[in-house]
């Protein structure tokens, strides 16, 4: 055995790598099943910040969503953008999309199409979300928006004057937003928003970014940057949090409609969402007796319905990553085991 390992042909390593990447893609693609993520505090902070936005002021939150990236980094960042819009849409936040990158509007359109148009068709453009498009000028744009938003953005992306857009009433500058959420692929991006918006005006700020950028932004957490998602890993964690919460929230709404008090509904929904396969048995217990049959089927449907593919992009991409990384770790260990075994034998001889 040792002899085989010692002269191990590297083709076997290649095969192992191909299997570690290929099989998860295939299995995840066929079954739609993804690996649960363990969210890190940074991702949790991001989620909570979006979740509680506007609560302090007791109003529907206004979220400035800045998507500053291009197709080259969309693989890493698109899942973040989609989950962000997903969370905001389910929570009922108002979304104001902007971009400091020329190709940003395309990215905005993609997220809006994937989430709002497909899953939240009841949301109205101009009342629930608005696309203000791209503005040239990098950090200058941020500086000016701090004092008066309308000098930079006179119209939305379709050319409608801002004053004619209902949700723009009462929005004059950055301080009127409850949260700035940004997804960034470089300059201008997270750093500029931190320096010129978050620090200057003390507005809560969360950001998702590429792996290359992340180490430079860690020092700003948690004072100037309240939440951070780094690379595809961060995207997958956040996506996982959002998907779980969305299911829970939808269940809680059904329970509340079925006569459960609010706190009880949320508690039960959390318990049910964590064990979706037990929902059907739960519906026949005494606890659920107040619920009507429609609510019960709705609950079971919510628990068992697969999560749409576009909400799993990040976690899907993490599957091959996980196995490939484990393979690498295993290979490093194996290499050293062989090395030491050989040395011992060499020493004995």
């Amino acid at each position: 055995m040792m002899n085989f390992l010692n002269t191990l042909d590297r083709r076997w390593i290649f095969l192992a790598m191909a299997l570690c990447v290929g099989v998860p893609i295939l299995v995840i693609g066929l079954t739609g099943y993804t690996f649960p993520e363990t969210p890190t505090p940074l991702a949790e902070a991001f989620f909570n910040e979006v979740d509680t936005a506007g609560e302090a002021k007791g109003r529907r939150a206004n979220i400035l969503v800045a998507l500053d990236f291009d197709p080259a980094s969309a693989g890493e960042l698109n899942p973040m953008a989609v989950s962000l819009v997903h969370q905001c849409a389910q929570k009922g936040h108002r979304m104001y999309f902007i971009s400091l990158w020329p190709v940003g509007p395309q990215m905005i359109m993609e997220s809006v199409d994937k989430v709002i148009k497909r899953h939240y068709p009841e949301m109205v453009y101009g009342e629930d979300y608005v696309n203000l498009g791209f503005k040239a000028g990098n950090e200058q744009v941020i500086k000016v928006m701090g004092i008066d938003l309308t000098t930079e953005f006179r119209t939305d992306v379709e050319g409608t004057t801002l004053s004619k857009i209902p949700m723009m009433q009462g929005i004059t500058n950055l301080e009127d937003f409850d949260l700035i959420a940004e997804i960034s692929a470089g300059y201008p991006g997270s750093k500029e928003w931190v320096l010129y918006a978050a620090t200057q005006y003390n507005i809560p700020f969360v950001s998702g970014m590429t792996g290359v950028q992340a180490p430079q932004l860690y020092p700003y957490f948690p004072n100037q940057l309240q939440g951070l998602l780094g690379a595809i890993k961060g995207a997958a964690e956040y996506e996982f949090l959002v998907n779980n919460w969305v299911r829970e929230d939808a269940m809680a709404k059904v329970l509340e409609a079925g006569g459960f008090p609010e706190s009880k509904a949320m508690e039960t929904a959390a318990a049910l969402a964590s064990k979706p396969q037990q929902v059907s048995t739960w519906t026949v217990t005494a606890e659920a007796s107040t619920l009507g049959p429609e609510a019960k089927t709705k609950l079971i449907e919510l628990a068992t319905a697969p999560i749409p593919g576009e909400y799993l992009e990040g976690q899907r991409r993490m599957g091959p990553q996980l196995f490939a990384h484990l393979l690498m770790v295993f290979l490093i260990i194996l290499g050293n085991v062989i090395f030491f075994a050989q040395r011992r034998r060499g020493g004995g001889a």
Partner: protein, 361 residues
């Protein structure tokens, strides 16, 4: 693992043959079930243009174009058909609704897709060993990419930088009609671009045996200007700025002041980090010293420098792995999704999902 791959034992070779055989069988089976695989569908769009006035064209729809032609029989017109790829689900939907739509199977693109899949597999076959498929793929990529570089160099560099400047009227009329014609004064300034033209021609003298020496002049020009540019750029951008960034206090008050213990603890932790950073930069600089042999005290410091470098390299290695895996995953997704139609993460073929389920069984 031996450095050179030794000839495989017959048993190992047999294992590989079985693996290959299973893959081929699976692909063949895949070809004959469901809606097939690896097809590209396109939808044609007719585009019509009419010349309203000199050099002003307008894109028109079918009816507008008909009226335009009828009312201006002498006006110049252009029309062509553009084909855009559509997801297969659009085609299936069209067929389900009784067919007759405009979406159809595009043979050039379907062949292209299969070719792309073939090339992908051919390159991967190199991992097993060199073989005719890889040699073929290698020859194709060399030929195509050399020509690709030339074409892009011509249209993106020679045309805008040279032809537009030296022959603006010609470029405007035939190549890039969107450009603004320069004023006379600007055109005079553009004459400086005769210099690279002359140097370029001298460079080509290399092709003539007797003129080889002439190509040294443009070479000297390039290396000289770039040496001048880089010495300033690197001194300013790397040397001074990196020294400047390193200058920061090694006493850093901690961020967490929730309890006195944590305040002291985080202060120590972050101050140590700042210290380690400065020490690291200095030790690595000592490692790069050429005047002194790495012996004694200098050797010790240089050794610490090597430790830092090793940690740097290990970290960079680990950090890059993530991106490389993603690249491989992207190629596999191409094979499984676009070519084999096994998985459908982006809902491009919603109707044939059953096939993949079947395969799964």
């Amino acid at each position: 693992m031996s450095a050179v791959s030794e000839p495989m034992s017959p048993r190992q070779r047999a294992t590989w043959a079985v693996i290959l055989g299973v893959c081929i069988i699976l692909i063949v089976i895949r070809c004959f079930i469901g809606e097939g695989m690896g097809k590209v569908y396109v939808e044609p769009t007719n585009l019509q243009f009419g010349e309203l006035s000199a050099d002003t064209w307008k894109s028109m729809d079918q009816s507008e174009f008909a009226t335009f032609v009828a009312s201006n029989p002498d006006a110049a017109t252009e029309q062509w058909t553009q084909y855009d790829s559509v997801p297969p689900s659009a085609y299936f939907e069209q067929q389900q609704q009784g067919g007759g739509g405009s979406i159809f199977l595009s043979w050039p693109r379907t062949i292209g897709l299969w070719l792309a899949a073939f090339f992908t597999l051919a390159i991967y076959s190199f991992l097993y060993r060199d073989n005719p498929f890889y040699k073929f793929a290698e020859s194709v990529v060399v030929g195509v990419s050399a020509a690709y570089a030339m074409v892009v160099g011509f249209w993106d560099t020679i045309v805008p930088n040279l032809i537009q400047r030296l022959l603006p009227q010609f470029a405007h009329d035939h190549l890039t009609p969107g450009m603004t014609l320069p004023t006379d004064a600007a055109q005079f300034n553009n004459l400086i671009f005769l210099l690279p033209l002359a140097l370029g021609i001298m460079l080509l003298c290399r092709l003539v045996p007797k003129g080889a020496w002439m190509s040294l002049w443009p070479l000297a020009f390039i290396v000289g200007t770039m040496a001048g540019l880089r010495i300033v750029g690197y001194t300013e951008g790397d040397l001074l700025s990196q020294v400047r960034d390193t200058i920061s206090p090694v006493y850093v008050p901690g961020a967490d002041t929730s309890t006195p213990f944590m305040a002291v603890w985080t202060t120590i932790w972050s101050s140590v980090a700042a210290c380690l950073l400065v020490i690291g930069v200095l030790c690595c600089l000592v490692y790069f010293f050429f005047s002194v042999e790495h012996k004694g005290a200098v050797g010790g410091v240089a050794r610490v420098g090597i430790w830092y470098l090793m940690i740097t390299f290990g970290a960079a290695f680990g950090f890059t792995v993530m991106g490389r895996i993603a690249l491989l995953a992207a190629r596999f997704e191409f094979l499984f999704d676009d070519w084999l139609w096994l998985i459908d993460p982006n809902q491009k073929r919603a109707l044939v999902e059953t096939v993949s389920m079947l395969m799964c069984l």
